[in-house]
Amino acid sequence: MAVEMIADMELVFKYPESLTPRVTHYCPGCTHGVIHRLIAEVIDELGVRERTIGVAPVGCAVLAYDYFNMDFCEAAHGRAPAMATGIKRVSPDKVVFTYQGDGDLAAIGTSEIIHTANRGELITTIFVNNAIYGMTGGQMAPTTLPGQVTTSSPRGRDVETAGWPMKMAELIGMLSGAAYVTRQAVLDVPGIRRTKKAIKLAFQVQLAGLGFSMVEILSTCSTNWGVSPLEALDWAKQNMLPYYPLGDTKVVDEVRALMAKP
C-alpha cells in the first residue's frame, strides 16, 4: 500500500545528503540535531557539499565531523575561527564554516571570533547558544542568564561577581568585517524555518564574497537545565528570548541586495 501511495505523492522531506547516516550522541530532544540538519539541508540546496570544509569545536558538538558528510577537522577549544581562517586563506575556492558552542565561541575563543569577524574572513560561523556548558556537565557559560543555576553557579549567576551574559550577535555585528550577523532560535517550527533561511543566507554571503557571516542560534540543553525536552523549549522562550532578542544585528547593503533576490 505504501508504494502505491508514494506513486502520486511527492517527497517533501528527506534525509540530507550532507549528513552521514550516523545517529548522533546528543541527548534526546537536543536541538544540536536540528541545527546540524539545517546546515546539511542548506549545503545540499546550495550544491556545495563537495567543496565544503567544516571546523568542529570542543564542546557537545566535538564529534560533529561524524555527522556531516564532508571534509572536516576538529579544532582546539575556541580556535575554530583561526583554523577556518587558515583553511580559507589557502583554499579560497572552498566553503568553510565553523560550528561552535557558547563556551567555545564566547569564552575561551572570544579573541579568535572577534578578530576573524573583524578581518571579514570569508567564512560562516554557526554559533549555538544554550546558556550552559553541556559537555562538561552543566557549568556556567558566558551566556548563562543572571540568576540561572548551574553546577558552578549553585546560587544562580551573580552578575556582581560573574559579570553579565555575553550578547555575541550584537558584539560581532558591530565589527566592520561582519557582513551578516543574526540571532535566531530553533525553539519551534516557525523559528526553525527562519533559522534555516538565515543559515542559507549566511552561506550565500560567503559564496558571494561579501564578508564574515554568523548565525547565533538559541538552543536548548534539557539535560543540564534539568527539564524535559519539551519544557526546555518553553524555558528558553521564557528566559532566553527576553535577554537575547531575535533578529539581524548586521546586514550590509550588499547582503540586503542578496536578500531581495528571489
Binding site: 557539499r49 563537495e50 567543496r51 565544503t52 570544509i53 571546523v55 568542529a56 566535538v62 564529534l63 565531523y65 556531516f68 558528510n69 564532508m70 571534509d71 572536516f72 577537522c73 576538529e74 579544532a75 582546539a76 580556535r79 583561526a82 583554523m83 577556518a84 581562517t85 587558515g86 583553511i87 586563506r89 589557502v90 583554499s91 572552498k94 579573541s111 579568535e112 572577534i114 578578530h115
Partner: protein
C-alpha cells in the same frame, strides 16, 4: 647563486619562500619580528598568503588549519610566544599534519628579555606540548645553516607529516653574514595537495582530521603509530658536526651560537696544547646520543656549554651513562659565553681528569 649579505631572520624568511612556503601566520615578537616583516612584503608580491594574526594562539591554529588543507605553512615566534603555541603543537603532532615553526629564542623565564638564549631546549625537545610527541628540532649555528635547515625543516615536516622546529637564538636572528640562498622552488599547486588533506570530498569519502580518540585502545593505537614514526625519524635524521674530534681527549658539546663560540675555544685550547674537540648537535631531537656515547669512550672528559642553566646537559649525561665526567658551563639572562670564560672551564676539566 652567489653569496649575499643576509640578516639571520630575513634569511630564514627568504629560505622558507625558496622552499615553497605557501602561507605564513604570525605575531610580532622580538627578536624574530624581521621574519614577519620580510614575509609581509615578499609573500603578497608572490601571490601567497601572509597574515598577521591577533596572537600566537591564533597564529598556530591558522597554521594548523592551513596544514590540514594541505598547504606548506609556517609560523615564527620567540620563547613566550612559543609557550602560547604549545597547545597547537600538540594538536598538530597528533593530527599528523606538516608544519614548520621558527623559534628565535630569547632570555627567560617570564617576559625575560630580548637577548639571545637557549632556554627553550627542554620545551622544544622534551615537552613541546601535552602528550607523547617530539617535534624535529633543528639548531643552526650560522646563517648559511639557518637557510639550509629551514629548507630541510619543510622537507622533513612533509616527509614525516610532523612538526619541524628551527631552534635559533636571538643573536643568530639579528646578526648578518654572507650566505647563499637556494633557488626558488615552485609552489605546489592546490590540485596536487596530499590525499589526506581537506580539499573537499569530491568523488571520495570525506577526509576527517582530528586529535580526538575517545576509545582508549584507539588512542593507544594512534600513540603507537606516532612512536613508531618518531623511532623512524630517530633512526634516519640525526645530524651533527664535529670539529677536531679525531684525536681529542677533551670533548665539548654545544649547539647553535655557543657551538660556534666553542669552535674558537677548540682553536685556542689546541694552541695551548690541549687536545680539545667539539661536537655540535644540529638536530636537538633526535639527539646524536649514539655518537656522543661513542666519543665518550675515547675522551677523558666532556664539557657541555649552553646559554641556559644546563638543559642539553641532561641528554649528554644520558648518552655518556656516567662513564666519563661531564662538566657544565652556562650563562643565562641572554648572555653569550665568551671563549675567555669557556677556556678555563676546559682547563679545569683537563686538570680534573688528568691522573
Amino acid at each position: 647563486m652567489a653569496k649575499e649579505l643576509w640578516e639571520g631572520n630575513a634569511a630564514i624568511a627568504e629560505a622558507a619562500i625558496r622552499a615553497g612556503l605557501e602561507a605564513f601566520f604570525g605575531y610580532p615578537i622580538t627578536p624574530q619580528t624581521e621574519i614577519l616583516e620580510h614575509l609581509s612584503h615578499r609573500l603578497p608580491e608572490l601571490g601567497r598568503v601572509f597574515l598577521q594574526a591577533e596572537s600566537e594562539i591564533a597564529s598556530i591554529n591558522m597554521v594548523y588549519g592551513a596544514a590540514c588543507a594541505g598547504a606548506r605553512v609556517m609560523t615564527s615566534s620567540s620563547s613566550p610566544g612559543i609557550s602560547l603555541m604549545q597547545e597547537g603543537f600538540s594538536y598538530i603532532a597528533c593530527s599528523e599534519v606538516p608544519a614548520v615553526i621558527i623559534n628565535v629564542m630569547r632570555g627567560g623565564p617570564g617576559l625575560g628579555n630580548v637577548a639571545p638564549s637557549q632556554g627553550d631546549y627542554f620545551q622544544a625537545v622534551k615537552m613541546a606540548g601535552h602528550g607523547d610527541f617530539h617535534p624535529i628540532v633543528l639548531a643552526p649555528g650560522n646563517i648559511q645553516e639557518a637557510i639550509d635547515l629551514t629548507v630541510l625543516a619543510f622537507d622533513l615536516a612533509d616527509k614525516y607529516r610532523t612538526l619541524a622546529m628551527i631552534a635559533a637564538d636571538g643573536s643568530l636572528g639579528q646578526m648578518m653574514e654572507p650566505a647563499e640562498m637556494p633557488p626558488l622552488r615552485p609552489v605546489r599547486p592546490p590540485e596536487e595537495r596530499a590525499a589526506w588533506a581537506l580539499t573537499g570530498a569530491k568523488g571520495r569519502k570525506p577526509n576527517i582530521i582530528t586529535s580526538l580518540y575517545l576509545v582508549e585502545e584507539e588512542l593507544e593505537k594512534v600513540n603507537l603509530r606516532l612512536q613508531a614514526k618518531l623511532r623512524e625519524i630517530a633512526a634516519n635524521e640525526v645530524r651533527w658536526k664535529e670539529y677536531s674530534t679525531e684525536d681529542a681527549d677533551l670533548l665539548m658539546v654545544a649547539f647553535g651560537t655557543v657551538g660556534r663560540v666553542c669552535q674558537t675555544v677548540v682553536r685556542e685550547a689546541r694552541a695551548k696544547g690541549l687536545k680539545a674537540g667539539l661536537l655540535r648537535p644540529i638536530t636537538l631531537w633526535p639527539f646524536p646520543s649514539a655518537r656522543i656515547a661513542e666519543l665518550a669512550g675515547r675522551v677523558r672528559g666532556i664539557l657541555v656549554v649552553e646559554m641556559n642553566a644546563g638543559q642539553m646537559l641532561e641528554d649528554v649525561r644520558l648518552a655518556v651513562e656516567g662513564r666519563r665526567p661531564v662538566h657544565f658551563y652556562g650563562r643565562m639572562g641572554g648572555i653569550i659565553p665568551l671563549p675567555d670564560e669557556i677556556l678555563p672551564q676546559l682547563e679545569e676539566l683537563d686538570a680534573a681528569t688528568r691522573s
